[in-house]
Symmetry: C2
Subunit: 331 residues, 2 copies
């Protein structure tokens, strides 16, 4: 007796408004032509009944959704909540919603991809999780545009949006050399990530060109990782003149470890991070770092996805957006 039926449909509205169900549909479908009179009748009836078009029925028939899949792993790193916020805001303006997929594993799992495929998402953004190639196929086959954000794969099989990691790290090397550093340390993030690799190559190639000795240590893009690695380096009693740490959150760990051992920054050693997360500017840290232009990177990603959603081309490119060195008090 109406108890179970609580979903108002276009048919209900049509009945009340005294028009056909098609007309109701047209009122809610932009681009369709409806007379002013019909529109008013429909909207009045819809308001009275509390009607809202069912997105699922829409998607079923148009074979397109207004959902963007966003895959993320390092949500513990403040860089990514910032990214999530900006994507959500940008897509909301365009009428798209975010299906958030958190992946625990380094490599994105088949099951995570299947979720996105089952929901027939309009587009996919993968941030800091790596993607195996067999997974690609599914997206390509289903003509779902995909962007790797802050990650890339060497061959141009995917559209990717990154900061100019290679160039940036070179600039950081030059800057540290200018500051008089005669030996340096690079602390990497997870070694299988493109960002860590590129930052390493960009940094060390300039050092080699200038005959500045360096050592590389492998860490994992977490605060604890940076902290522990620095403790280990300190224990060896050979403090380098400067550290380039592959991201800010690790760099904060390095700074804390140095301080705990009463090694004065920036006189005894210097530290440079990467990302420019909020905390880098906190007075306690005042970390010199490279600013990742999140807004531009997000804009680039959104524009590409929207274009591909309108008309799928499968076009790929590795896009680089320029960041900037932010000098603070750790150098």
């Amino acid at each position: 007796m109406g108890v179970l039926k609580y979903y108002v449909t276009a048919k209900d509205v049509a009945k009340l408004a005294g028009v056909s169900q098609s007309s109701v549909s047209r009122v809610y479908f932009k681009g369709a032509s409806v007379s002013k009179k019909t529109r008013e009748k429909v909207l009045a009836a819809a308001k009275e009944l509390g009607y809202r078009p069912n997105e699922f029925a829409r998607s079923l028939i148009t074979n397109r959704t207004k959902i963007i899949g966003l895959v993320m792993k390092g949500i513990q790193n403040p860089f990514y909540p910032q990214v999530l916020k900006q994507f959500t805001t940008s897509f909301k303006e365009l009428g798209y919603s975010i299906l958030f997929v958190y992946t625990n594993n380094d490599e994105i799992q088949k099951e995570d991809i299947e979720i996105l495929l089952n929901y027939n998402v309009a587009g996919v953004i993968i941030t800091d999780a790596s993607l195996s190639l067999n997974v690609t196929e599914d997206f390509k086959k289903n003509r779902i545009p995909l962007v790797l954000f802050n990650r890339k794969i060497d061959n141009e099989q995917f559209y990717s949006v990154c900061c100019n990691n290679l160039n940036a790290s070179g600039k950081i090397a030059e800057y540290l050399i200018e500051q008089g550093c005669s030996d340096l340390v690079y602390i990497s993030g997870n070694e299988n990530t493109s960002t860590s690799k590129e930052r390493e190559i960009g940094f060390t190639s300039i050092l080699e060109k200038n005959n500045v000795p360096y050592k590389k240590y492998t860490s994992d893009y977490t605060y604890e990782g940076g902290y522990k690695m620095a403790q280990k380096i300190i224990a060896q009693r050979k403090i380098p003149a400067g550290f380039f740490v592959a991201n800010d959150i690790m760099a904060l760990g390095v700074v804390d470890a140095l301080r705990e051992n009463s090694i004065v920054i920036p006189t005894e050693t210097k530290v440079v991070g990467f990302d420019n997360i909020d905390m880098a500017s906190w007075p306690t840290y005042n970390l010199t770092t490279w600013e990742q232009p999140i807004t531009k990177m997000v804009g680039q990603t959104v524009n590409y996805l929207m274009a591909e959603i309108v008309e799928f081309s499968g076009y790929t490119e590795n896009v680089e957006v320029n960041g900037a060195l932010i000098v603070r008090k750790t150098t």
Copy 2:
């Protein structure tokens, strides 16, 4: 010419497997009975074609989705990414996905709610955004279960899951008094939030009972807010014996401001936060705080939602989960 048709349907699988479309459907619908032989034929054909059931068609007919709407505002506060992570993980295990809604405004907007309603989400979690009552109606009318997470509204109109804020803050007051604090300061978060109000009442009522003088300052649950408020208090040159700051991220701002003014913690003053975010345990801060039992709070929320999804009752309650005082080096 097959170019445009790239979506594999149950019908395609049925044809290849030589069974009816209903049988294909049954293979993917748990609980339906299919012979082993049919199942194998179907799965083989499905694999060959790359078939996946369309969630939208499913949802349309079952009138239920496997999507949970999660509304969040303070994603800049590390407490919330942690919460997001745990919700995503828990729901993934249950086969549910997260539609992430970021809301900029203090009060959750009508448009945010409409997104959730249009997608006919199975349940909704609202974290740190407040909810006006006219919005409630829509959820109730559509029988969509709702949980306020880390927020509550006085009358029991919603199911809410919080930490035992009142009791916790009382315990913090007692602890600071035991530590010999003779005058205290409470720095609030956004004043219209239940958490900030409860923490204030819990804290100050114990102080009053013990005749300990205190002052209250209003801030906004951000690092900058805590930092600036502390600078202001310091400028008045009356440093209290201790601070209770309504959340950790503000407390870190307070600690930084005190340090910048060479006020030694914990000898000259003490600081207690609330949440126990990762950073509270970092050696630089070592913040004494109240641990919010996120895992339990998430578990409670998930259990309620799942029960209401299975059979909607509309039952509401303000659930409190006990946290614990974590004593570190700021007291």
